[in-house]
């Protein structure tokens, strides 16, 4: 194992023992091999930059390196955006540790030295974020390398295996060339992705969101504070923003659109599918912190004459989020709310049982202009999981679900 800190400024010699210069950076070429150091950047005494390829490197140690060719055969460095630069792109930068679902800052990079038919290869093993690496960075250059190894041996190291490291590259073209994908990230829980997003700057958030699929992006964005949601969605293209907002629950979508300047939210709405846009527009009409603004328009509703069988069919066809499922609402011919049946009751009843008979006691509902506090009071008093919202005529407008009430209460603190 050898650390980047030990390799940094390492003196390098050519095959005849002629001094070349000091090691400046290490390049990985992800299009060839994501683990192997493909080239070594060397700064000569005259401040020229040389680029030694991995086949030209004969041997490497913490003391020095030697090439297998003459100095004249080594070419000068020409900038190449396709290279991942260990010092510039990784060291001291923030990365996402997918395994621990965190954003961390890189203190050092760990390599393995491997002989490979006639030359020496460096392989990236891990990035180091621990105290030992920090102390190594501080002491390097002032204290002999083997002494540093002894000292840092006492302290805990914290290494993140390279395969769990997700680099954050705001430039999308470079992201493609460096083959940076956030596939591993997409498998995390949306709430964990949201925590990671909150740690990043706007450009970095953008990089992550743009490379996630719309549904995952929407779920993750739903979990970050509304103000940050709006800023993030504004910074990406209106089409992509529209795709993401479509996937969000309508009430969340309405909240975030409300935070945006009118021109931008209009643009996003225009780019959305007609049906989804209509749902969101209805919600946009309600004052902030009223039952109308808290409610979602995605819920399960059947005619009051339906039976348990019909309810189960409606549930099967329901495409909305699972938090809207616990209660099924009944309406009459005029779409006026007439009943509410908990799904638990439906599951236990005969298929032919009319739903009307399963609707318990007095029906609790609220008008759209009622304030958020009365919503909270009703949830608290009647131990509700969801609450129907109606207009003056009893027409069912939407449903407030428990998760939205919880969010309202937490945000008010």
């Amino acid at each position: 194992m050898i650390y980047f800190t030990e390799l940094d400024k390492l003196p390098l010699f050519d095959v005849k023992g002629e001094y070349l210069g000091r090691l400046e950076d290490l390049f990985v070429d992800p299009s060839q091999n994501a683990l192997r150091v493909a080239a070594y950047l060397v700064k000569t005494l005259k401040n020229k930059l040389l680029c030694i390829t991995h086949e030209q490197m004969q041997s490497l140690s913490v003391r020095a390196g030697q090439t297998s060719v003459r100095a004249g055969e080594i070419r000068y460095y020409a900038p190449d955006e396709g290279f991942l630069r260990v010092k510039k792109d990784v060291l001291d930068q923030q990365i996402i540790d997918v395994n621990h679902r965190k954003v961390v800052r890189v203190n050092d990079v760990d390599f393995d030295i491997q002989p490979s038919d006639g030359h020496t290869e460096l392989r990236v093993v891990a990035v180091n974020v621990g105290l030992a690496a920090a102390i190594r960075r501080l002491l390097q250059g002032f204290v002999a390398k083997h002494t540093i190894r002894t000292i840092t041996g006492v302290f805990p190291t914290k290494a993140i295996p390279w395969e769990f490291v997700n680099l954050i590259e705001p430039d999308s073209a470079r992201r493609v060339r460096l083959r940076i994908s956030y596939d591993q990230l997409a498998h995390l829980h949306p709430a964990d992705i949201a925590d990671i997003l909150e740690e990043l700057s706007r450009d970095e958030q953008k990089a992550v969101i743009e490379s996630l699929d719309d549904a995952t992006a929407a779920q993750a964005i739903s979990e970050i504070p509304t103000r940050m949601q709006a800023a993030l969605l504004e910074s990406i293209s209106p089409e992509k923003a529209a795709d993401i907002v479509e996937e969000m629950p309508p009430d969340e979508a309405a909240d975030v659109l409300q935070e945006m300047p009118p021109e931008t939210s209009a643009e996003v709405l225009a780019d959305m599918e007609k049906e989804e846009a209509e749902d969101v527009r209805e919600l946009l009409g309600f004052e902030e912190n009223t039952a109308g603004a808290l409610m979602t328009t995605e819920y399960v509703v059947v005619h009051e004459a339906a039976t348990v069988e019909g309810a189960i069919a409606a549930l099967r066809h329901f495409e909305g989020p699972p938090e809207s499922v616990p209660v099924i609402y009944l309406v009459n011919n005029n779409a006026v709310l007439t009943g509410a049946v908990p799904v638990a009751r439906i599951l236990l009843a005969e298929a032919s049982m009319p739903l009307k008979e399963l609707s318990p006691g007095p029906l609790i509902s609220l008008q759209a202009h009622a304030d958020g506090d009365s919503v909270v009071d009703l949830f608290h008093k009647y131990n509700l999981m969801s609450l129907p919202v109606v207009d003056e005529k009893g027409y069912l407008l939407g449903v407030v679900t428990a998760d939205d009430v919880l969010e309202f209460v937490v945000n008010r603190k």
Binding site: D92, L138, P262, K413
Partner: protein, 421 residues
């Protein structure tokens, strides 16, 4: 249509109010007990003759803070983050150690201010300081810091007492205004020292770190940067205006009385006599304690935040103790060491520590300013928001003057014999 217009107006106002804050809070922390005392002494000893320094100081403050706020909005990263990413671990580590030491000294000065304010009300520092430290610690760790911050800010309105007292004292306004715009200079060593002290207490490294992090935390969008800039300018002007009225009030009262000495809070409170009469001491004590508590909250908090960010440790009040141990220990350590120093050490022994912290601030500031200037000129970071040539000229002149003055200040703080007061 009308409704749309109203909505648009309301939105603009809302954006302004949400963006508003970092600059104003920085300004309020700037007027901490150290600041209040320095301005009071300046007015009491030299009347209006130091007023002219306020305009250049306010301008310098605007130039420096605008740079910090702009970097925060454009890069979305704190100053400590940027220094780490561009200048590596060791440089960041040294700067962060400097910042922690300087801010520990300033925190001690805040608690000393609290002790001094409470002593006017007859409360012993052995009661006032530990209770104050517990309040500060509890509010940040256990309570809702956001709400507390607002309460303190509202309490800062107590500074209005100075302008009112000023008007009631009937100062020579024409002379005060002329002194504000017309530079004058006295080759009196304590006059020079006070200029340095006024500069040092007004422009300090912690502000740039705090302001930039606060702007980032607000999540201000590039499009709304104008509002952020106005917030910063407003904050700087408030700092300058408060200083102006404190100096004029002290000039019209203490200086005019011929006594011209400020040894403790009761002396400084005399400036509020025209407004509050016998209640002047209580009013001054209230203002001093409020300023002390606000600063004693924000300084250790922002220090812990920056140090952890720069060194790549978890930080933030929304994290729990076991998630961000370094952050909470650093904050706790700063608060309690600050309070402990005021309780254990006699006033005479506190002075060397406060002097040392002024020196640390003075040594740190040049580095911070140069880093800021270099970072805010980087095209890859700032794009078209990097400094213009004109701005650079003004900023470099400001920085060079600031560096010269603060170095002079640091030297005179460490070797007090050279500039006798």
């Amino acid at each position: 249509m009308n409704r749309d217009k109203f909505r648009h107006f309301r939105l603009r106002l809302l954006i302004f109010l949400t963006v508003l804050g970092p600059g104003i809070i920085t300004a309020s922390v700037d007027n901490d007990p150290g600041g209040i005392y320095t301005y009071s002494i300046a007015g009491a000893r030299f009347g209006y003759t130091l007023l002219w320094t306020l305009i250049p100081i306010t301008l310098a403050l605007i130039v420096v803070e605008e740079m910090a706020a702009r970097m925060g909005v454009v890069t979305g990263k704190g100053l400590a983050d940027l220094i780490r990413e561009e200048y590596g671990f060791r440089t960041t580590f040294i700067i962060m150690i400097g910042l922690a030491v300087a801010n520990l000294g300033t925190t001690i000065a805040e608690f000393a201010g609290l002790a001094s304010g409470m002593s006017v009300l007859g409360v012993s520092r052995f009661l006032a300081v530990p209770v104050g430290a517990l309040i500060v610690w509890g509010l940040v760790v256990k309570g809702s810091y956001r709400i507390v911050e607002k309460v303190f800010l509202v309490a800062c309105l107590v500074y209005i007492a100075y302008p009112i007292s000023c008007f009631l004292a009937r100062p020579d306004w024409s002379q005060a205004l002329i002194s504000t715009v017309k530079p004058s200079f006295h080759f009196h060593s304590s006059y020079v020292y006070l200029i340095l002290a006024v500069v040092g207490t007004t422009i300090a490294p912690w502000q740039q770190f705090y302001l930039q992090s606060a702007v980032v935390e607000k999540g201000t969008k590039l499009r709304d940067y104008v509002f952020s800039r106005w917030d910063v300018i407003a904050g700087c002007v408030v700092t300058g205006v408060v200083a102006f009225f404190i100096i004029v009030a002290c000039g019209a009262t203490i200086y005019a009385s011929g006594h011209r000495q400020i040894r403790d809070a009761a002396d400084a409170a005399l400036a509020l006599r025209p407004l509050a009469g016998h209640a002047a001491s209580a009013l001054f004590a209230f203002g001093l304690c409020n300023a002390a508590l606000l600063s004693a909250c924000i300084l250790p908090l922002s220090t812990a935040f920056c140090v952890c960010q720069g060194l790549g440790l978890e930080s933030g009040v929304n994290k729990r103790m076991h998630e961000a141990p370094a952050f909470y220990w650093l904050f706790t350590g700063l608060v309690f060491l600050g309070a402990l120093a005021v309780m254990v050490l006699s006033e005479a022994k506190q002075i060397p520590i406060i002097v040392l912290s002024q020196a640390a601030n003075g040594i740190l500031l040049p580095f911070v300013l140069i880093f800021m200037l270099r970072l805010s000129n980087r095209e890859d970071l700032m794009g078209r928001y990097r400094n213009t040539r004109l701005f650079n000229a003004v900023a470099w002149i400001t920085c060079v003057v600031m560096i010269g003055l603060t170095l002079l200040m640091a030297v005179s703080a460490l070797f007090p014999g050279r500039i006798p007061t």
